[in-house]
Symmetry: C3
Subunit: 159 residues, 3 copies
Amino acid sequence: MLEKGKTTIVLFSGDYDKAMAAYIIANGAAAYDHEVTIFHTFWGLNALRKNEKIDVKKGFMEKMFGKMMPKGADKMGLSKMNFAGIGPKMIKNVMKKHNVMSLPNLIEMAQEQEVKLVACTMTMDLLGLQKEELLDDIDYAGVAAYLADAKDGHVNLFI
Amino acid sequence: MLEKGKTTIVLFSGDYDKAMAAYIIANGAAAYDHEVTIFHTFWGLNALRKNEKIDVKKGFMEKMFGKMMPKGADKMGLSKMNFAGIGPKMIKNVMKKHNVMSLPNLIEMAQEQEVKLVACTMTMDLLGLQKEELLDDIDYAGVAAYLADAKDGHVNLFI
Amino acid sequence: MLEKGKTTIVLFSGDYDKAMAAYIIANGAAAYDHEVTIFHTFWGLNALRKNEKIDVKKGFMEKMFGKMMPKGADKMGLSKMNFAGIGPKMIKNVMKKHNVMSLPNLIEMAQEQEVKLVACTMTMDLLGLQKEELLDDIDYAGVAAYLADAKDGHVNLFI
């Protein structure tokens, strides 16, 4: 009788603040017993990168992309007031002061709450990101799987 | 029998043009008798700021944020072609010529149409914004209240 | 018995990568037999511009906007790592290498799959874009038509 809510989020953005919003909504929805999926595509994949350098074979372009993009959630910039990296530090200070969880902690919490974290395989190809470089225990899928989830979603967002 | 439509918008962006899009959709939906909520979070909170300086006690960081962020809808920049503030002037001129409502007018209209304007309390804390600095007759809530609304929404957007 | 899925996308952004995401989702949904609408508003209209110069009468402001905005999908920049136009070239190279369709091809495919491409008439007025400057066989409508579509949509996104 009781229908379980379902929330899907496409995380396209590679900004720290936007990813935070995505993960706060996802964790909230999971706490309310929604089935939640975050589909990471394009720059949003960076939120799933491990923060150490991983040795994998890559072509020239893939190496370039790998170097230019932030290695993991903690290295991402802000969508506004980034100020060459000072903005994120300010925000993180204020977050600590107000006991707001950091993005890496929000991601960890999402994994504990069994939010399904999906990496878009097409973008992984494009940007030359390999499974070894991404967090463990995530899923890999394409747009078809996203749409199958979203079709029954109550809340579907593109962030 | 007739089910009333429900629209929810998360306004995350602090850009004039994106906020305009949010408020145009919200006013349109309200005109079609939808129940409409705009949940203002992160930079989207700036759309709700009063345009005068309000005297409230703040810490150093909160003062900094308060100074750097636009004071109200009319001071917001464009997401594209901002050109250090010339872009918004151009757009506003063209809007006047074509009888398109300005953002402050769209917000006023939304309040008249009983669109529920919500300020995200977590972000208010983070950015050090206080109730006195925001428009009158708005609501205050967190992500749980947003999700409760969005769960039954027919149109849920993140802008 | 079988309800046909319905997907609506507001394409607000004028970035190549975001428009790609919109068209990939749209084409995917159409392949799964969804009824799909992309409502192009603000900078998203640029994706529908023809790439040649069209001779139409315009006021000064409209000419300025026309010159400053990209003429068609292929001229659009990236939301991240644009690097004064080098970013899009890099991405397009990598896309070709991985057999990912270019944005102009994705738009063509959407038209073949009968995705409804709508140009927002209010924004056309604002930015001074005329029907002659946009792709053939598209629709023209305002926010009311969008909302009528979205009200029954299973997946409604703002990109």
